[in-house]
């Protein structure tokens, strides 16, 4: 029974870790972006401050049922997905509910949150939110294709749909997927550009404009909750990539091993995270249809090659 207790503590640990790392990464990126744009920029822990401010605000107006739902769903899907992501390979303190076929489960479960946000944004009645949502959904259809091609390549190559299995295979063969099937990795990398919604694919959130994008009607606790959910998602995506393509992390259950594993995990994730950020720095914004065409161009071709590579 105390075994179950450990699991629960581990789950909480996982949530905390994901939350912290996600928020911190966000702060770091803000800082770096500012430096690149020759600004001074906020402090790295700025996101925490923002969250604190938002959560301490008193909510005056509510937009009704779906308005409440939106952050709830984001948190739910973030938490649930987190439960299925192997953080550290075979570490007792970071268990996960991985099961046969959880990869597909994750793909669909991640949508849960964004759908909730979309519905919440919809109910506010702000046309800009709805427009943002449609852009976001369309763009999602865009980058899902290379992403799924990449995943299918992996799944086909090893006839499994379980993240754990793929990690184990990498551990056994000793070669990371990004070398075993480079095309798949590239396709997934391109997809990640859209997934993180940095420029040139940031028309969805449109951070530059005031009061546009899905979240434009949300404030206070709602926005705070969404923000934390979003940062957890960032961590999730990064970890997923690392698990799938970079062999994951983790050596064992010991304290030292845990710390080392975390270190490696952070290293890998951060280096991966920098790719979309860098790309964003050097590229202007796409319109939505341009973005979709972009994703259906070379990335998809790479994905197809990857699948063929996987078959033979």
């Amino acid at each position: 029974m105390e075994d179950l207790g450990i699991k629960i503590i581990g789950a909480l640990l996982t949530v905390i870790l994901a939350f912290t790392v996600g928020m911190t990464y966000g702060g770091i990126v803000r800082k770096l972006t500012a430096r690149v744009q020759n600004r001074r920029g906020p402090v790295i822990w700025q996101n925490f401050l923002d969250l604190l401010k938002l959560q301490s605000k008193k909510t005056n107006i509510a937009h009704g049922f779906m308005g409440h739902m939106a952050p709830v769903w984001i948190i739910i899907s973030a938490g649930t997905v987190l439960m299925f992501i192997p953080i550290l390979n075979g570490n007792l303190w970071f268990p996960n509910l991985t099961f046969h076929g959880d990869l597909i489960f994750l793909l669909y479960m991640m949508v849960f949150g964004s759908l909730g946000m979309a519905l919440g944004a919809g109910q506010t009645g702000n046309p800009n939110s709805a427009i943002g949502v449609t852009r976001g959904l369309s763009q999602m259809v865009g980058f899902e294709i290379p992403f799924v091609l990449a995943l299918v390549a992996l799944m086909v190559q090893y006839k499994t749909t379980s993240i754990q299995d793929i990690m184990d295979i990498q551990a056994q063969t000793g070669t990371w997927m990004m070398f075993a099937n480079p095309f798949a990795f590239l396709a997934a990398l391109f997809a990640s550009l859209g997934m993180f919604r940095y420029s040139p694919f940031d028309i969805v959130g449109a951070p530059a404009e005031l009061a546009s994008g899905p979240v434009s009607e949300f404030g206070g606790k709602y926005l705070g909750t969404m923000m934390s959910g979003g940062s957890i998602f960032a961590f999730i995506k990064l970890t997923l990539y690392v698990d799938l393509f970079m062999g994951g992390a983790g050596f064992g259950t010991g304290i030292l091993a845990t710390i080392m594993g975390l270190g490696i995990l952070l290293l890998k994730t951060f280096s991966l995270y920098m790719v979309p950020v860098f790309y964003g720095w050097i590229s202007p914004r796409y319109r939505t249809e341009q973005a979709i065409r972009y994703f259906w161009g070379w990335p998809t071709a790479l994905g197809v090659i990857a699948v063929i590579w996987a078959i033979f």
Partner: protein, 624 residues
């Protein structure tokens, strides 16, 4: 009296009775229809034991009615959905005209489908199939609008399907000298080696009802044109009759033992070829229907296209021919029956209360029709295949089957693309009807009457339950698959195993999500409630400034314009055009041939003489 006869008798009598009583009042005939269907389903679920059958002879043909596990699975859909839909349509059809005919045909369709489920021989199968078809035709043109285009198109395609089926049936009779389905199967009528035509003809016949490419063109118009309370049955249950047939044929085809045949390799190859063809047809159907669904402005039409897309998934699942795939297909069939029924009921409720289903005219109904919205929300989550509801389980098994058990990898991409694009129209549906700005026109809209709410909520609850306990459906499916040739099907494959040692099926997941859900929802709401006021949809901060009066804040038209721009090449060609051109060409040809009958009597006489002379010339070759 035998309960098979009794059930059908009740249904037919109910049809006739509701037709007669319809002259008095629409409510009465609706009630009669509902009662008859309810009584029939009560008998069906209580009185008939599995495997029992009766035999009798009609017109010198040996007929056999019975109930097997496979039919039982579809009986659940047909009669369950039928009961709810008939209850629903009492209020829906209340103020409409010519309701007597509607209820008559409604009950007839149910009776036809029940008969199809009972039929153990091809003849009664075909008879009930045709009854179902023409009754549904009469309902489709019930509203009287674009009868010519849609009604005739539906009837033509149904006739093509039915007659290819009839050809196959008589061929079976000619080759194996039996009309019994089981005998034909045992004789190997479906295993694609010694006879190619029979399975293909049958598949064409069923593919029409299952709206598979390229025979799907009737479906959108028909689904949209029928009264919504019937579209529930039409899309929810009637399309499943096609699935039933396809499952029967394909299941036996793929599980058939071809080791004995000499042309072993080629037959196996051809089977795989056929399998791939059907699978791709299903996949293309799914993609195209999805693409067309997300450019619709009419909620009902949107759902119509989405039904076709879902049927495409089911076809793909059947075409895999593996246990998991077929199981996924049947599961999707059941769940699709539930959620699509619920969604059409939602549309019907909106149509009745707000007067239209055009999403550019109405929006922001969420506060007016909360229960309807709740149903719509749950059903859409199921449709989009988002965990933890049933739709996901089906899709997940489908992917699992395609990736790990079959060899059609790019089919996975196609399916995935269409199901991702399905999010678009799912959101479009919810947003268009319930969210967004509240229009002035829809201010007086009230929630639908209770008799329409109850069926919707029942279906919604069913969706949640099937999501949490998929085993409830898997156990009948498992037994049903034994009937179509899959031996020892275990449905443990549906249970998700995790590292916590024991098997974790979606139940716990559902419960977990539910708990978290409730807690956080309570947290935010309670924190918010203190001094929180609920504001209307006009009260928004457009760039910080208050929108002035009658500023247009509605966003409904060209909803997915960017996506459509990007995907423009895919909208280029449509099957519909091809069929129309074919039809026009044939009509011109007919117009030409009938010119033979020139009104001149002498020409006719000349024909006679020429014919006589020709016959006399060739008499020795003709009549030896």
């Amino acid at each position: 009296m035998n309960s098979f006869f009794l059930i059908l008798l009740i249904l037919f009598a109910g049809a006739g009775l509701s037709f007669v009583l319809g002259k008095i009042s629409s409510i009465i005939s609706g009630t009669v229809a509902f009662l008859s269907i309810a009584a029939a389903s009560a008998l069906f679920f209580t009185q008939i034991e599995m495997g029992s059958f009766i035999e009798f002879s009609l017109g010198g043909i040996q007929l056999q009615w019975g109930l097997n596990s496979y039919g039982y699975l579809f009986g659940i859909i047909v009669l369950g959905l039928g009961t709810l839909a008939s209850l629903y349509s009492i209020s829906y059809m209340q103020n409409k005209e010519r309701t007597s005919g509607f209820y008559f045909n409604f009950v007839l369709v149910i009776a036809g489908m029940t008969g199809i489920i009972f039929a153990n021989d091809f003849i009664s199968f075909f008879i009930f199939w045709e009854i179902m078809t023409w009754a549904s035709y009469l309902i489709i043109i019930y509203s009287g609008k674009n009868v010519k285009k849609i009604g005739i198109k539906y009837m033509i395609f149904s006739a093509i399907g039915a007659y290819s089926m009839l050809t196959a049936i008589v061929m079976i009779k000619g080759q194996y000298d039996t009309f019994l389905i089981s005998d034909a199967i045992n004789a190997g009528a479906f295993n694609f080696i010694d006879n190619i035509y029979i399975p293909i003809l049958l598949l064409i016949g069923f593919g029409v009802k299952a709206a598979t490419m390229p025979l799907h063109v009737w479906a959108p118009g028909a689904y949209n044109n029928a009264p919504t309370s019937f579209t529930v049955i039409f899309s929810g249950a009637m399309s499943k009759m096609g699935v039933l047939g396809m499952g029967l044929v394909l299941g036996h085809m793929f599980t058939a033992d071809r080791s004995g045949s000499l042309t072993n390799f080629f037959s196996g190859f051809s089977v795989i070829y056929l399998q791939q063809t059907i699978g791709w047809l299903g996949g293309i159907t799914a993609v195209i229907a999805t693409l067309y669904a997300l450019i619709q402005d009419d909620a009902k039409k949107l759902l119509a296209y989405s039904s076709i897309a879902q049927l495409g998934y089911i076809t793909v699942g059947l075409a895999t021919g593996t246990k998991l795939g077929v199981m996924a297909a049947l599961f999707l069939a059941v769940v699709h029956g539930i959620f699509k029924g619920a969604l059409f009921m939602v549309v019907g409720a909106v149509e009745r209360q707000a007067g239209t289903t055009d999403m550019t005219k109405i929006s922001g109904l969420i506060r007016k029709m909360p229960f309807t919205f709740l149903t719509a929300l749950i059903s859409i989550i199921a449709l989009a295949g988002i965990p933890p509801l049933g739709g996901f389980v089906g899709k997940w098994m489908l992917y699992e089957a395609l990736i790990t058990e079959s060899n059609s990898y790019f089919l996975v991409i196609v399916i995935f693309f269409s199901s991702t694009a399905a999010f678009l129209y799912s959101y479009r549906f919810l947003f268009g009807l319930f969210l967004g700005q509240e229009e002035k026109e829809t201010e007086q809209v009230k929630e639908a009457p209770i008799t329409m709410i109850i069926p919707m909520l029942v279906l919604a609850i069913l969706l949640v339950i099937t999501g949490a306990f998929p085993g409830l459906i898997f156990s009948p499916i498992a037994t049903a698959m034994e009937f179509i040739g899959f031996k020892d099907v275990t449905w443990n494959m549906s249970v998700l195993n995790n590292v916590w040692g024991n098997e974790m099926n979606l139940t716990y997941l559902g419960i977990t999500i539910g708990v978290v859900f409730v807690s956080i929802f309570a947290f935010i709401t309670l924190k918010g409630l203190k001094g929180t006021r609920y504001v209307g949809t006009k009260d928004i901060s457009t760039s910080g400034e208050i929108p002035y009066e009658n500023e247009n804040l509605t966003f409904q038209i060209n909803f997915f314009q960017p996506f459509v721009r990007a995907a423009a090449p895919m909208y280029k060609r449509s099957m519909n055009k091809i069929w129309n051109e074919l039809g026009n060409g044939l009509e011109a040809l007919f117009n030409f041939t009938r010119k033979i009958y020139t009104g001149n009597g002498q020409t006719y006489a000349l024909f006679v003489v020429i014919f006589l002379v020709l016959m006399l010339l060739f008499k020795d070759t003709l009549f030896v």
